[in-house]
């Protein structure tokens, strides 16, 4: 199952922070281009997730962005039997995916019913245009 939306409701969009918070822009730019981008400390190689202006391991403020492979495993999930927001049709699940590179991101599953979810399930990314101006990285069963 894929998350179903109420067409007359606006899906919550990530805020475009611009100069108010520069660190997160490349991630969402990447999603638009159907890539999962990860921030990497130039000095010690630490992956910073969520993105931020300083590496907590070595205090370097120099960083670069790498493209994740897009594969990982389900680390946890929640099934919403009541939608906390009118754009979503309950029931649906939000999943926490641990990417093979290490970082974890929240997403939804495509073509998997909530009751079939399992911790450890191998998944791979797929990108869904959920609204005219919003693309989201989602995951499906790998293979």
């Amino acid at each position: 199952m894929t998350v179903e939306y109420n067409p007359d409701q606006k899906i919550p969009h990530p805020a475009m922070w611009g100069v108010l918070y520069k660190s997160s822009t490349p991630f969402w730019e990447g999603v638009k281009n159907k890539k999962i981008m990860l921030q990497k400390c130039k000095s010690c190689g630490n992956l910073l997730n969520p993105p931020r202006p300083m590496c907590p391991k070595c205090q370097s403020q120099e960083n670069e962005w790498i493209t994740a492979k897009g594969t990982g495993k389900i680390y946890s999930w929640v099934t919403f039997n009541e939608a906390p927001h009118p754009a979503f049709k309950a029931p649906y699940a939000a999943v926490l995916v641990e990417l093979d590179e290490g970082p974890r991101i929240v997403s939804n599953m495509v073509d998997v019913k909530p009751e079939d979810l399992e911790i450890g399930m191998a998944v791979e990314v797929t990108f869904e245009d959920v609204a005219e101006d919003l693309t989201l990285p989602k995951f499906r069963k790998a293979g």
Binding site: V19, L20, K22, S23, P53, M54, P56, Q59, Q61
Partner: protein
């Protein structure tokens, strides 16, 4: 307290004893750091905060992981968890905030000092990061309209719908009353911004470095909220600043001459509001500042004559000058005369004030830049160094619940 103020008789019998004050002479500011002060940083506030804090940590001769406390005041866009997650400080065990806007300029130092004096934390970092020039400017009129069909609080309900929306305007009401009651002239007011601008010419980090201003320039500057002219008002700044507080004992092993806190005070008297302090019998003075001064002198066991240099929180010239009166640097109602010609507040004057340029000419960093300059004066590293500084005073904002510290060598 109000009665104490009216009688100019400070009660000490209802205050904790000076011996009980654990901050006095036990706590010091040991590291200071800042970013460039600009009009458009092009960076976000978390980014700026990280840089300023790193600079303060380096200045003190510490490691980032030594920092175990954070302190700031509200109206802050940063989130503490995000800050910790960026800086990578694993041992944090104290944090604090305080309301009251600029009045809390020194209250933050008080709370951080209390934490280290009571063993709750070893090294507390006080930080402030703002993009007020390019981003969200506190206290601008047109900011309000976008998102506020109804005044934010009941109290603002009595003033905002009248088009009475900015702290400058609110202060203008008691400022005018002060000018009216004591015949303070605009020419006199002008000397405060003019002298501060002179200081800024020696401070390459100041916003107005390289842009001198004469008294004539001041007089010709446009009226913003009558009685305040453009140059009566503080600058807008993008930037961040931080300082680090620890015990005097630990300071001995660190890099810098510690700026020891000889006294600290906070005060919020009756009928306090944010600038709109209109219900007290007299509004031509600042009860909270007088009180902060009295408490500082009581704890430090000194008087205004002993203070060598002062950094007074001056979001507008009036606020700076009335503080001179309330802190006892001149008589009540004599502030105008005192600053006339500027000599009294210049570097060799009776009480050199805001020697880095203050909020009007250095930066509007909610008072952090004032604390940092107060520390530099103790270290002897100011761009406008006053000779042989023993005691250096810093205050929080006027017209709000205020605060202050006295630093010593």
């Amino acid at each position: 307290m109000l009665q104490e103020y009216m009688d100019r008789k400070y009660r000490t019998d209802n205050k904790p004893s000076v011996e009980a004050n654990l901050i006095k002479n036990n706590v010091a500011i040991v590291g200071i750091g800042q970013t460039q002060y600009t009009k458009n940083s092009g960076r976000d506030e978390l980014d700026l905060a990280c840089e300023a804090i790193q600079n303060a940590v380096d200045d003190a001769g510490l490691k980032m992981s030594d920092i175990d406390g954070f302190d700031t005041f509200i109206l802050d866009r940063l989130s503490l968890p995000m800050l910790i997650n960026s800086l990578g400080t694993p041992n944090v065990r104290f944090s604090c905030e305080v309301s009251g806007g600029g009045g809390a300029g020194c209250a933050v130092a008080v709370h951080a000092a209390a934490a280290v004096a009571t063993g709750q934390a070893d090294y507390v970092c006080c930080y402030r990061s703002l993009n007020e020039a390019s981003g969200h400017r506190y206290g601008r009129g047109d900011d309000f309209i976008e998102y506020m069909p109804v005044a934010l609080t009941p109290n603002y309900g009595y003033i905002w719908p009248l088009g009475f929306v900015t702290p400058l305007g609110w202060a203008g009401v008691w400022g005018r009353r002060w000018m009216h009651e004591f015949n303070i002239t605009r020419e006199q007011l002008g000397w405060w911004p003019v002298v501060l601008r002179e200081y800024a010419q020696n401070n390459p980090e100041a916003t107005y470095f390289g842009r001198p201003m004469t008294h004539e320039d001041y007089m010709e500057s446009p009226m913003i909220v009558d009685p305040l002219k453009l140059h009566d008002c503080c600058v807008n700044t993008d930037g961040a600043a931080a300082y680090i507080i620890t015990t005097v004992e630990r300071a001995k092993d660190l890099k810098q001459t510690p700026a020891i806190i000889a006294a600290s005070a906070q005060c919020c008297p009756i009928e306090q509001e944010i600038q709109t302090i209109y219900q007290r019998p007299s509004i031509s003075g600042l009860v909270e500042t007088w009180y902060v001064g009295q408490e500082l002198y009581r704890v430090a066991e000194c008087g205004p004559d002993d203070i060598d240099v002062a950094q007074l929180y001056d979001p507008y010239s009036i606020g700076g000058i009335i503080q001179l009166e309330e802190l006892g640097f001149c008589e009540r109602g004599e502030g105008g005369k005192f600053v006339e010609g500027g000599d009294n507040i210049r570097i060799d004057g009776k009480i050199p004030c805001n020697t880095a340029g203050g909020l009007l000419s250095e930066a509007y960093l909610h008072g952090w830049n004032l604390v940092i300059e107060g520390v530099r004066q103790i270290r002897g590293t100011s761009y406008n160094q006053v000779k042989d500084v023993e005691l250096s005073m810093v205050t929080g904002g006027p017209g709000v619940a205020s605060s202050g510290i006295i630093l010593r060598r």
